[in-house]
């Protein structure tokens, strides 16, 4: 089963989903069937002056995840995720990582066709 990457405020399934993609604290990379997961720290992207979204997209692509569940994705991160062949479900907020996985398993997430945030400096 293809893995999911969910932007998360911490390294546990019961952490809050971090609504930011590029500057998320980290990503839970999880097999949605077995719930086996790894935590991908995104702290270095948070500290970047620019390019956090692109960096986060690279991290997620390198993790092997083919699906991202998150809140807000900027235009450059969106382009990068598309190039890497990663599906994006955005506009998620006020839920835990576990609840986001549940939504995905129940087929309740919508796939994004375009970014829902303007980039910085535009």
């Amino acid at each position: 089963m293809a893995k999911l990457a969910i932007s998360s405020e911490g390294p546990d399934l019961d952490e809050a989903l971090d609504p930011r993609f590029g500057r998320a604290a980290g990503f839970i990379v999880v097999d949605p069937q077995t719930l086996e997961f790894d935590y991908l720290d995104n702290g270095l992207s948070q500290a970047m002056a620019q390019g956090a979204g692109i960096q986060a997209a690279e991290h997620v692509a390198n993790s092997g995840a083919k699906t991202v569940l998150t809140g807000y994705v900027g235009p450059k991160a969106f382009m990068a995720l598309q190039a890497a062949g990663i599906r994006v479900a955005q506009n998620l907020a006020d839920m835990t990582v576990r609840e986001a996985i549940e939504m995905y398993r129940n087929g309740k997430v919508k796939w994004a066709r375009q970014p829902n945030r303007r980039g910085h400096g535009r």
């Binding site: 620019q50 390019g51 997209a57 692509a61 450059k76 890497a84 400096g121 535009r122």
Partner: protein, 291 residues
Amino acid sequence: MKVAIASGKGGTGKTTVSASLAASWQRPLVAVDLDVEAPNLHLFLRPEIHGDEKAYMEIPVADESKCNFCRACVDICQFKAISILGSVLMVFPEMCHGCGGCLAVCPEKALTPGQRELGHIIWGAAGSTGFLMGRLRVGEAMSPPLMRQVKARLNAMIQHAETDVVIDAPPGVSCPAVNAVMDADVIVLVTEPTPFGLYDVSLAYGAFLPLGKPMGIVINRAGLGEDTIYEFCRSKNLPIWAEIPFSRDIAAAYADGGIVAQASSELQLTFDELVESIIDAHAEHQEVLHA
């Protein structure tokens, strides 16, 4: 000699002081507007424009068919302007700072030089005063690359003559402000007697102090009521080179696009003394350097 007019806080009167200094300067001068995000010195000096050129920065253009996905360009770029995702090579031209590193390290010549427009460089003369300005393209996020090109043209303009330079610097204390003052011989900090003016000029003082250049203060809108700026200047041993009173007549002259120094004989005297203070501070500093 180059004099930079900076402030920290916006709207304290950098351009008012720059225009009045330019009008009061007795030696050959070029006035430069390096506040390329919002240039306005020309509104007061009203120069005759002699030229207008677009400025560009070198950015990489990718030919994916030549890319061997070695990631050398991705690794050298500090600004995420190039990314490789799977088997896709992506360039984000607006992120590029123009260092040329990726072009240099690509072993396959998959990256070739392209251009991003930075804005315009405009030059001319206001009477006997040379004039130069940069105007950043709307949407361009970085002003230092354009500022560097304006400064290169400035150096070409002054290299054949004993010409002084007045630089109208951008507000703030980040890269653009530092880029505007780093080549100056003297820095004039324009502030106002308000908590905001004090706070921001203290940041500017702290940012520019390591440059080791003589600095002096001009207090604009003097008499607004706050005295803390005077205590600050005393505590830092910062000379107050001029005070421009808070007055309706001055505001009216400014709003009319006039040169404030020419609004009254008292103000002209204030700016003549400011010119003298700047020249003296420069001469003293040179003596210290050569001692």
